[in-house]
């Protein structure tokens, strides 16, 4: 049976790669490989997964140096030479092995005011938002984010500036900025503008290239830059 050579990060912030031999199977995903190691070779390996079908976003890891969903990454696409290197996501503290602490990632969503605040009550009629309106189209382009952290791991600016809000939080802010029902537009712009916010983005576009949902946070961040600049000139910020 053909075997894969798999180097897996073991430890926390300090640690090293340990190599395992895993049977190569048809239609095998990287998550299958990690699961095999944990179940058949070394039960002490820590990793995170839930749905296994690209819905929950919890199994993201660095595979051969690139952040990916392991459940939706086929071995044949990333291990042409029969070798894999699997590491925890970058830019996040490692708890153990392949498990990162996502706390700062989600705290930044809160900092970017990533929560909807409306003005209507249950007694009011539904808000009518035209599907072809420019705002709704902007929302559609970014709303499918499931918070997997792939973009955050791929972002150079997060690496350089640990307080940078990051692509996912800013993408969320952009979708809410374009939600015509939301009432905290200016507060949100204040939260996302400046050195730790949208204006720190260098437009490297790694987030857009790596997003498994094909979302382009770079476009949303550029939109926030323009919106914040216009608000600053209008004296709203």
């Amino acid at each position: 049976m053909a075997m894969l050579k798999v180097a897996v990060w073991r430890g926390a912030e300090k640690g090293g790669f340990q190599t395992y031999e895993v049977p190569r199977l048809a239609s095998q995903t990287v998550l299958d490989v990690v699961t095999h190691i944990q179940r058949a070779i070394d039960p002490s390996l820590a990793y995170r997964f839930a749905c296994r079908v690209g819905v929950c976003g919890s199994c993201a890891m660095n595979v051969n140096g690139r952040a990916r969903w392991t459940c939706r990454t086929h071995v044949e696409k990333v291990a042409a030479d029969g070798q894999l290197e699997i590491a925890p996501l970058s830019n996040l503290p490692v708890i153990k092995d392949l498990v990162t602490n996502m706390e700062q990632f989600f705290d930044k969503w809160a900092k970017a005011r990533g929560r909807f605040t409306g003005a209507r009550t249950r007694d009011d009629d539904f808000a009518r938002v035209m599907p072809d309106s420019p705002q709704r189209r902007h929302v559609d382009a970014g709303i499918e984010c499931i918070g997997c952290g792939v973009c955050y791991s791929a972002c150079d600016v997060v690496q350089w500036k640990p307080d940078y809000l990051g692509p996912a939080a800013l993408n969320r802010a952009w979708t809410l900025h374009n939600d015509v029902r939301d009432t905290r537009r200016v507060e949100r712009l204040v939260a996302v503008a400046g050195d730790a916010g949208c204006h720190a983005c260098h437009t490297h576009m790694s987030c857009s290239e790596r997003c498994p949902k094909q979302i382009a946070p770079t476009i949303g961040i550029a939109g926030l830059k323009r919106a914040a600049a216009a608000a600053a000139l209008d004296g709203e910020l």
């Binding site: 350089w160 500036k161 712009l189 400046g194 050195d195 204006h199 600049a229 600053a232 910020l237």
Partner: protein
């Protein structure tokens, strides 16, 4: 520094970059054109001295540099060294003023 101030700094850097793009092209094209026919320094100076057009152009060039460079340097320092806050801002203001003064001194030298 407030979100508004940070945003205006970003806007100033973008606007100054647009000015610089134009100024650098005009400057380089003029230099290439001026030396092509073998103009001497004295001949070039005879064209720039008393020319309010060239004075205005290079004064704008210097102003754009004085705005653009310190804002960019502030970001570079923040990202590479992690330094931020009032001391860095004051340092960048000083660099901007020094660039403006030295630049205008050079502009005046070829105008007056």
């Amino acid at each position: 520094m407030s979100a508004r101030a940070q945003t205006l700094l970003w806007l100033a850097q973008r606007a100054s970059a647009a000015v610089l793009a134009l100024c650098v092209i005009v400057h380089l094209a003029t230099m290439v054109y001026a030396v092509r026919g073998g103009l001497s320094a004295a001949e070039i100076l005879s064209r720039t001295r008393g020319s309010y057009g060239w004075f205005a152009f290079y004064a704008l060039f210097v102003a754009a540099v004085a705005v653009h460079a310190p804002i960019g340097l502030r970001s570079v320092i923040h990202e590479t060294l992690g330094w931020r806050g009032a001391p860095v801002n004051a340092g960048m203001l000083a660099i901007g003023m020094a660039l403006a003064l030295w630049g205008l001194r050079a502009v005046l030298a070829v105008f007056a």
